[in-house]
Symmetry: C2
């Protein structure tokens, strides 16, 4: 469902106490300083190829809650953003030491998910229009020849079988210099992708088989502290607090006491902050599978006791994530109320910001009419509302108020870039 | 005058004989090869900071006829292109070896030209939104303090007096690391700008006091030949033929015989090409001041005799250009019919394409209701029609026909980049 976004824009509930808008107005005032700082950061740690960042805006704080390095929603961006995506891809690939002319995209194996295939077609189109010969090579087991899939509006996507030629991955009659991963490797790195000479972006070790949310948010904590020092603000205003547990097993009830203890400690820490800022809401936390994605393995918790009281259905839901991977680690993350709604006061929304390289290239709202302000919106029943072009993302205007849409989306772009910077450090750290 | 460009689009007269659309369809088919070639070229010779390129599309040929390295029409771009401009400025400045945080724009001295001041405000806005502290330092004689000028819609532009501090150019309380020239230096390099340690973009030696159109089109000839070899087409399809004369003096009638001889030789060369392609039009040439700008010092000529028959008014018009500079050199350039019209069949139009770095960031049509298809449209009475965003400039779509607007503007972007590449070589050659 795509609304005429120029008319319908998200509404931020402003009836809250607390330092409403302090982040947005500070970000706007210090724009030149922030951009200078970002430039210095990207010189030290270049950004990953692309990312999508889920944000939550509670009014008194705005923070990223999930950073996806294999974004799958390019089809949800406003088509008017396409030129920006094309230019960003060109600039990212022109910076590489070795010239690249041929690109092979390696997607997820979702052959029946129309939305994902639309995303894939869009992504391939961006690389093609950026001037790269671009094919899609599929990891689908048993695929032994081209598979053409018809999409809406007469478009098709063509999946080709991947083959090894020594240390190179190819598809028939096509030798790519660059492999673009759009597969988050939840089930591990396939043998086909191991020991390749070709450049792979993002690198294999950023897959969800190796990446941990708790590591990402550890780097994010450093980034948020540096950023907060730069602006002389409390880092809490841009950061979700978190704890993590070692091994957990939701089915076997192993690690429950660690979870419960950390939920309690985190709830106390949030309550302290709420008191400090006079925020009159119930603290809550999100327990998330530490390598989970697709909104799976996520639940809201309001008290330490809830961890012990999970029923069988809840345990099952938390125990496995994408592709049946077993959850063995969990992160306990501060829950951030979203005080944005779309169209009517009961339809809760959260922004998702897309980046290519260090550039914000668009975004959309994830909207869920059946969820509350303290729940995970990445769940069945959600839909996406595009941002209108004038509202994208890199053109702050100090002549307008901090909560003008242009400026709100600029702030969102800053927060999303902070999360991307944390991912850049994660990437550098993995080597 | 800005029309609802999404509805009104230029109309290309298709009643011509000749290989109509051959360039556009070839460019579209070989897009990946062209982009790969451009990438290799920009690695060898980086593009100048910005440029605007005037094109003429006769159907059977499309070519640049003027390349401006100090573009003054950012206000004529569709505001929807602004994000593209911002991203392109960020990427150009991030590539510099020395980090830049503060930018000083040095504009033309046109304090009464509202259009130019709007351009200046737009340009400053792009740098500010790209995250650079940006001021405007004016060369206006006698300016000894800030001058605020009110523009439309409550906007203002602030001109500040330039000062030397040793080998640095500053304005009060502001030490820029980068000087952005938006002044074409028609009257020569002012002493204030000489011997500076700061980075200046574009470099001083690209000013019109030193640059010659004939040198630019000499480089363009090489570029066009390489490009034509790449696509296996006749370079004439993308190149205006030209000749040039040494010293001329229109008032003293010096150099007339050289002009006349070259007009004749060029008309013959064009006629030969018209015969080869079965084009049933009268050849014509443009005589242009070799360092002229602003559409000044330009005339259409259809026979060698016309050079001898100029009346006093015509001679005066050709003898001096911007800021009263005397014309001492001329280029005789193949005249290219424009077969594009806007809105009605008698309103002639030509595209102007804007680049920042090597990126096409927008464009507009220069439209002139009182001019013919074989005349200079850059003259009083012209106006500008914006391109709609969907039609910009870097997103070719092979699913659509070569003359779909998206694809036409992609072709225009390719031609404009060829001219920019010639300017890049000019710049490298000047050292």
């Amino acid at each position: 469902m795509v609304a005429a976004a120029a008319e319908i824009v998200p509404h931020l509930t402003t009836a809250l106490s607390g330092p409403l808008n302090i982040i947005e107005s500070t970000i706007l005032e210090r724009q030149a300083r922030i951009e200078s700082w970002f430039r210095a950061q990207w010189r030290k740690t270049p950004a990953p190829l692309y990312a999508s960042v889920d944000l939550r805006n509670a009014g008194y704080k705005i923070a990223p809650v999930d950073t996806n390095l294999f974004p799958g929603g390019f089809n949800n961006l406003n088509p008017a953003f396409e030129s920006l995506c094309i230019q960003a891809v060109q600039s990212a690939l022109e910076r590489l030491e070795q010239p690249v002319d041929r690109v092979l995209i390696i997607p997820e194996n979702h052959t029946r998910n129309r939305h994902y295939l639309q995303n894939l077609a869009l992504l391939q189109g961006i690389f093609v229009k950026a001037g790269f010969e671009t094919r899609v090579g599929s990891l689908l087991p048993g695929l032994d020849r081209k598979m053409e899939i018809n999409l809406d509006a007469g478009a098709t996507i063509c999946l080709e079988p991947l083959q090894r030629e020594g240390a190179n991955l190819v598809v028939p009659d096509f030798q790519p210099e660059l492999l673009v991963l759009n597969n988050d490797l939840s089930s591990g790195v396939p043998a086909l992708l191991e020991g390749l000479d070709q450049l792979i972006m993002p690198p294999l070790n950023l897959g969800w088989d190796q990446r941990l949310k708790s590591v990402h948010f550890g780097f994010y904590r450093d980034v948020a502290q540096e950023f907060a020092r730069l602006l002389d603000i409390d880092p809490w205003l841009v950061e979700p607090l978190f704890r993590n547990c070692g091994e957990v097993d939701f089915m076997k009830r192993a690690g429950e006491s660690c979870l419960s203890r950390n939920v309690e400690s985190l709830l106390n820490a949030i309550r302290k902050k709420y008191d400090e800022y006079g925020i009159n809401s119930d603290p809550f936390v999100m327990i998330k599978a530490d390598s989970g994605t697709y909104g799976m393995g996520v639940m809201s918790v309001h008290s330490p006791e809830e961890v012990y009281d999970l029923n069988r259905k809840q345990r099952t839901k938390m125990a496995t994530v994408k592709e049946g991977q077993k959850v063995t680690k969990a992160i306990i993350q501060e829950g951030i109320y979203t005080h944005e709604t779309w169209d009517n006061p009961n339809t809760v929304a959260e922004p998702v910001v897309y980046l290519i390289d260090q550039n914000v290239v668009g975004g959309f709202y994830r909207v869920h009419p059946q969820r509350a302000t303290n729940e995970n919106l990445n769940s069945p029943g959600m839909y996406f509302e595009r941002l209108a072009f004038e509202e994208c993302c890199n053109s702050p205007d100090r002549e307008q108020s901090p909560d003008a849409h242009l400026n709100r989306f600029y702030s969102y772009g800053v927060l999303a870039r902070l999360a991307t910077l944390a991912a850049a450090r994660e990437m550098q750290n993995l080597g």
